[in-house]
Amino acid sequence: MNLLQILSFLMVALAGTGVVATRDPLLQSMAASFFGLQLSILFTVLQAPDVTLSEIVVGAVAIPLMVVLTVAKTSAKGAQ
């Protein structure tokens, strides 16, 4: 294993722990977005460009966006 691989594996583990440890869903969606980005870097390092592309669009954009919208609907008084 070279340094880049070790580093990206460790960053993924760290970012994943951060997502679980963040208890506020709104802040957590930002952490999840960062986690998705770290995952896509790891996948690039592991020579998987197809998986990287879908991880970027899904993990870093689509899921956090849906989480933010659900938080908005359930927490804003006026939105109910």
Binding site: F9, A13, A31, L46, V58, G59, M66, K73
Partner: protein
Amino acid sequence: MNLLPFLVTAWLFLAGLYGIATSRNVIHLVSCLFVAQSSTYVFLLSIGFRRQGTAPILDELPAGARLVDPVVQSLALTDIVVGATVSALILVFALQAHKKSGTLDPRRAPPMRG
């Protein structure tokens, strides 16, 4: 050091499960599920990786180049698609349950009836 990918896999899976087990908010639970699920992507891609291998795309590659496994990459791709839509569905369930019961805490929500 060669165990690191598998340790990260186990760590992500268990950390996600811990979040799910202790969660007091369904939206928080969905993000933890996302973490637990990504352990499978890490695992699949680590299995198919080959030292000094390149991506399995044959454009202008010399014959006999070392390639990583395309099968596990295809599996991971399927995994991501299904995971995303199922997460969306859980979020919708959480949203509608919140309208009915006014809480996002899975322990306080009243039992569901058909």
